[in-house]
Each structure stands twice: as structure tokens, then as C-alpha cells.
Symmetry: C2
Amino acid sequence: MSVTDELLTNAERYAAGFEKGHLPLPPARGVAVLACMDARLNVYGLLGLTEGDAHVIRNAGGVVTADERRSLAISQRLLGTREIILIHHTDCGMLTFTDDDFRRGIEAEVGIKPDWAAEAFSDLDADVIQSINRITADPFIPHKDSVRGFVYEVETGRLREVKP
Amino acid sequence: MSVTDELLTNAERYAAGFEKGHLPLPPARGVAVLACMDARLNVYGLLGLTEGDAHVIRNAGGVVTADERRSLAISQRLLGTREIILIHHTDCGMLTFTDDDFRRGIEAEVGIKPDWAAEAFSDLDADVIQSINRITADPFIPHKDSVRGFVYEVETGRLREVKP
């Protein structure tokens, strides 16, 4: 039995107890969270979110590339969110390599070099600020009054704000 | 008080009860989930995940663009995941507009046309297959034996597999 099959069994249990079939499409709290994909970062648990509350966007590092700007533009323009919460975290995999090494390793194995940046970083707080700046500079995201960045500490469960 | 400030109060409560400071960086279940950012889709709740279990990647639509391929390549190459679960859902915002209209509307307002596709779609099952195909075609994601796609029904809480 694959892990996917095991998780599907969990999904059947979720459906059996489901009572939230009436929720509207726009997020009730008007917020979009952009966080790292890290397995230890439980966005719903950490922020006390429940079904219907917030858009959650996640990727390797919690970085801001074109696709996150796409998701944020759709979130704000079509679905009414107004605040953005960015979350990086301690002990992140993105701190453990460099773009050059990652791309070189893939090229050596596959014979093709990725046509995208891996977005590795060496300074956690600086990359949170980098993410805020990329959003601020984007012409397609209309609402930027509340774009705040945080570092989640996987060791303590605490969320620490990073001020520009 | 902003919504962000309210959620930060929740985060303090999460930290106060935190007992999971010892978890390793690689996901325990060896799986990466790629799902829509929709507020009604509670990935942890649905799949019965807990802290440390799985990478969770999310964006508008749960689509596969360059950034999701980046995240999946990092997930598999550096952090050992082997299975991929794709989740789209009913009543998705991406079903409500077209790329052309979205880009034209932004151009009319901002004076610049986005240099990215909005990735809207009109057929849910077809876009799940599209996402599977984009992963299958990617040269940088090494493990493709278990790439399965699903539609989550926001009305019933059920997860339905889409077979290519």
C-alpha cells in the first residue's frame, strides 16, 4: 500500500465527518498566507485557521516568484483578500545549498540545466525582506498596505516578525 | 486590529502548546502534495497530515508552472519525497474567468499586461490531467511512479481520483 493510498483512507474519514459544504469561495478573513512547503510548518494549526478562512500559497522556501505574484493577484483581484502574511522558517532546506551547485548537479545528471533559479538563500531574515520587496515592486498586486513577513521557529513553534 | 494581528494571537497560543521541536527536515511520509490555495481546502485535515509528514505546495488552481516544478525537484532531490498528490477542487475560482479577460482587465487598469498566464481553466478533470502531464514531461523531477490527481468536492468533503 502506497503512502498516497494511506492518505486516501484518511480522506474518506474526513468526508464522513464533513459539515462544511456551505462555505463561500472568497476567504472569510480576507487574508492570503504565503509560506514554505516545509512539512513541519502547519499553517492552519499555527495561525488558527479553519476551512474557509484564508488562501494558503506554498512553495520551496516560501519565496516570491512569478507564480506567487500570479496567485496573489488572483487572490486580491478576484477573491477580495487585502492582507498578505509571508512565512519563512528556521532549519529551511533552502539554507543548505546554492543555486549554482543545485543547477550544476542537475546538469551533470540530466544533461540539461534548469531554466529557473532554485531560489536558495543564505540569510533567512534577508530573504523575508526580499519577498516583501518583490511583492511591493509588483504592478499587478493592488493591495500592499499590509504585507508582513515572519520567521517560524521549527524548534519552538514561535512566529517572529521580520521588520524591513 | 488587523486580521494579521488576530492570527498572530493564535500563533502565540500554538507556540504555548508546542511539543514538536524535534522533527527532522525531510518529510516523514515521503510525499509532496500540490493543491489549490482555496480557503475551503484544508490539506492537513483532509489527508490526515500532521507536522513533519509531507511537503505542501499550493497556488491559485493547484496548477503546475515552473515554480511548482522547482519545488517538486527540490522536494524529491534534496528531501527524499517519492510520491506526488495533485488536488484541484469543485467551485474553483479558476473556472470563473479566462486568461484573456483577466489580462485585458489588468492592462486596462494598470497599463501593463501581465507577462504570465493566469492559468484559468474551464474543465476541472482536464486540468488535473494537464498538471499530471506537465510533471511527467519535466526533465528535472526524478520520481514519477506515483503522480496521482484528484478533485476535492467542497460541497461534500470527498476526494475523487481523476484517471488519465
